[in-house]
Each structure stands twice: as structure tokens, then as C-alpha cells.
Amino acid sequence: MTIKDQAAVVGIGRTPYWKRGQSYPETEMSMACTAILAALDDAGLAVTDVDGFAIYAHACDPATVAATLGIPEIRYAASITSGGGGSAGALGLAASAIAGGMATCCVTLMSLQQLTRRLGGSAVDGMLAYATMSEGGGSAYGRGGLPPSVAFTANNGVLSPGHGFSLITARHMHLYGTRREAFAEVCISQRSNAAKRPMSLQREPLTLDDYFDARMVSDPLCLLDYTMESDGAVAVVTVSADRAKDLKQPPAYIMGSAHGGSGRWGPAIFRYCQTPDEEFASSGHRPVARRLYEMAGVRPGDVDVALLYDHFSPLVVLQLEDYGFCPIGEGGPFVEDGNIRFGTGKIPVNTHGGNLSDAYIIGMTHIVEAVEQLRGTAVNQVEDAEIALVTGGPASLPVSGTLLRR
């Protein structure tokens, strides 16, 4: 038995999106509650129906949310470990809780506000904090202090996720001849998708000249390859497939979900770069993709729209390879040939504009877009969209993918 087709996303809700730091006087809790209530309203459900939280990246404290909203009883509260890589996989967590009889109505969400702190950090203290953040296994009860391995990388100048992903990108360019024109096409195509959406934060047209005029941040990545930083909250609600049929919206059934990755990917990014070469220049999604398609019983050619986590544009190219839309190493030419364009491409990608142009709510906007595509209500609606792929990460493991169908 698997979770295939046993649960469905039935409600989506969100706050407005803001540029980083602009959501004040909202708080992460107030935005989370707003998004959850909106998702429940969308589904035709009430606060009293909610009994589970299936989250990732420590999106919220379910106890506090439950007390604030008046959720009568929590029966399930679990998070996928690590960070944004778990966004799509949290739907699998919800489906497994529901299929396993542990909960009946699960909330998945992200609420993000960056007032005084920024993801990645920037001060000297932040650098040291960053140098230690991916060490993993931290416990309040251990020896305390920094782990001995930190001293091997703390002084190397790798200070942000962008630096780590630039190292992966540079290797891909070296191995396969991938060009910056491909990364530009990711940025430009997604911007043109966002341009038609009133809620998207970045809607001005973007040209190839704009791209090549943008300043380099961590060569080979320029400013436009980096996602923007945003404030806001997005929540979705998942119930059993049976119950989903009787609710307000057409269900988006969870065909399959997988999270994880190769064991040796763990030390791949951010700190050590120790992955074998065949996987180093990848998104880390290959094993997840294989399990996901197997569970759902479909192939890459069956997918109508792909919502691929895009904190850095080159990683969209690498995911296209790892999810089988083109052969390994051919992601660059595949993208440059226009294959990810909405309306004309073989596989429309990030029809909402993605993290790069819509808003960066750590992957949740991708889930919402997948659901809207399957309902037929997306702004950039893919004709007759039946199956949508959503991913979370590349990041420290686990990375994740989920297939939804109408």
C-alpha cells in the first residue's frame, strides 16, 4: 500500500506578498492564521475540522496556532526535517497521516517575515552562525560548542546558500557546457509569467540585456539568478480523497510524494562538497524523482505543468534533468530552446513566476499554483492540465517532490 490517491488538497489560502521586511505590523503568527483561515474558507471547512499539522522547516508551532485559532484537538503534528527542501514533501506527510488514520484534516503552511534577521545572515556573527548551521545533529544536551569539523570550512569564505549553489552550477557548466543564457531564460520566462499576475511582486519585463547587465554576486551567478526575499504566508488543507469529493473545490489528488535523497548528498552543499561527481552537478532530486514517478505510476511525459523550486535559477535547469524532462547534461539547451515557456513549451515551468518573480514563501506558492492549475483557475492556465509536479529544494536533505492530479 502507498499513499497514492488517498488524499487531496482541498483548500488554499494566502496573505498578500510583501518585499522582505514590509509585512510589519503583521507577525509570522498573524499571517499564518490568516492563511489557514483563508484555506479553510476556500475548502468549505471550519477551524473545528482541523486536527493535523504536516509542515516543514519549522514553519510554525502547531500548539500556538491551535490555541490561537481555537482548534479543539490536535491529533497529528509533524515536520519534515531540514529546510525548504521539504515543502512539496509536506503534502506526502499529510497524505500519510490521513491514510494511516492518524489525522483527518491536515494543514501545511509557511509563514515568513524577515524584519531583523535574514535567511543566510550577513554580519560577522551571522557568518559564524552560517558556518555551523548545516552541521546537523545539534542537541541541547551534547558537548556544547562548535563541532570539530567546523574549523575545516569556517574560514573559507562560503557564507551563503548562493555560494554553495554557485559551486554546483560552475561544475555543471564545466561538465556539460551549460551557458548563462539558459539561466537567463529561466529568469525571463518566469518573469513573463509573473507579469500577468497582479499578486506577483516582480512584474516588470526582463530582457536578455537586463540579465547580462545585472551585477555578478557569486560568479557564475548574478543578482537575477538569486530569488528575491519576501514576507507572507501560504497555507493549504489536505483531507482524505473520499471526503474531498463533497467539498467546495475540485480536489487536487496526491498521486505520490517522496522526500529524501542520496545519503552522500548530505555533505554536498553548503559546507563540504563531497558528493561523487555523477551527482555533484545535480539538483539532488534524482532518487526522489525515481520513487515519485514509481509511486504515482506516471512518467515525465505525463506531467502537464512543473512547479520547480527556484531559489537559484540554475537549479531549475538541473531539476529538469533529474525529473527526466531531458537527458542529464542537456538541461541548458533544453531550456534555451524554449521548452519551459508557458503557452509554447513542452513543459511549462513555474507558471506563477516562482520564487524568482512571484514571491519567495519557501516553496508554498508552487503548491498553490499546482492546485490552481488543476482546478483550471490559474492566471496562466495550462490547457487541460491534469497532472502537476511540485518540488521542494535543492537543499540539504531531504529534498522532495509531489505529483498532484485533478
Binding site: P148, S149, A151, S218, D219, D277
Partner: protein, 155 residues
């Protein structure tokens, strides 16, 4: 730049922000050798796999015991980036600086690579495949920071 929190910085050389090694018995031999400008790495006594940074258990065979092996201190750049945007104002005089993944001669490569600042190079010219050699900066009694520089041309 006396008010620079990073001290006297130089172009291309990422400043030492961690001055203690936080060593335990699994890493101390590395720092002891570094003081003498020698690069050593732990090799599994069962299967011969090197592991850097040192970890307690071999990721290939789960054996614990290691022998410390002296390496030539040379290697090849596996990937590299040029950091151009200073993430702190104090780093403005440092950028651009190069960070590279170095595959060490005498090891199996993956699992024993070093992720290091590449110094004394033209950032625009340094490329994947270039040969580099280790250069330690002796910061204090315990910390000698490993960086790499392009290998001197022979002859």
C-alpha cells in the same frame, strides 16, 4: 581600515573568522601537522578510504580505525566560484575572492575534498582543472588556516 572587524584584510584572501580549531582526538592530528605546513588526512585502515573533514566512522565500510597519511599537498580544482558581492562591508576590500573545491592528490577524491579559499591567483583566470597547492596561514598556537594557491610553474 583599523575599524574593520576583520582586521587588516587583503584582496582575495578571505579573513580568518574562526581562530580556534575546536579540535578533538579525531581532528587534532590535522592541526598538529598544519603547524608544520604538512597536509595529513585520516585513511580507513580497513578499506583505504580517506575522509575529510575527519569523521568517526568510515562512510564506505563503517570501520572506525584510521591511520594518518601525509599527502603531497597538491590537488586539482573540481569547482570554483568568484565571490564578487561583499556580504559584509568589511569584506569590500577582499572581493573578488575565489572559493574552490579541491580534489587532493593521493586520495580518492569525493569524501576527502577540501572547500577552500584560493589565493595568490587572478580570479578571472583560475579555472576548473587548474593545479593548486596548499598554503597554511599560522594564525596562532592552535589554528593554521588551510588555503590553496596555483601550483608554481616548473622549470
Amino acid at each position: 581600515m583599523t575599524d574593520n572587524p576583520f582586521g587588516d584584510v587583503q584582496p582575495g584572501v578571505f579573513p580568518t573568522i574562526l581562530t580556534e580549531t575546536h579540535a578533538d582526538e579525531s581532528t587534532q592530528p590535522f592541526w598538529d601537522a598544519a603547524k608544520q605546513n604538512r597536509l595529513v588526512a585520516p585513511r580507513c585502515t580497513n578499506c583505504g578510504t580517506f575522509r575529510l573533514p575527519p569523521e568517526a566512522i568510515c562512510f564506505e565500510c563503517q570501520h572506525r580505525e584510521v591511520e594518518w597519511v601525509e599527502l603531497p599537498g597538491t590537488g586539482t580544482i573540481f569547482s570554483r566560484i568568484i565571490v564578487r558581492h561583499p556580504l559584509h562591508p568589511g569584506l569590500a576590500p577582499v572581493v573578488p575572492y575565489v572559493v574552490g573545491v579541491v580534489e587532493l592528490d593521493g586520495t580518492q577524491g569525493a569524501g576527502a575534498r577540501m572547500l577552500v579559499n584560493i589565493i595568490d591567483c587572478d580570479p578571472e583566470a583560475i579555472a576548473i582543472g587548474d593545479r593548486v597547492q596548499i598554503a597554511f596561514e599560522h594564525v596562532n598556537e592552535e589554528m593554521s588556516v588551510p588555503r590553496f594557491r596555483p601550483t608554481e610553474r616548473q622549470g
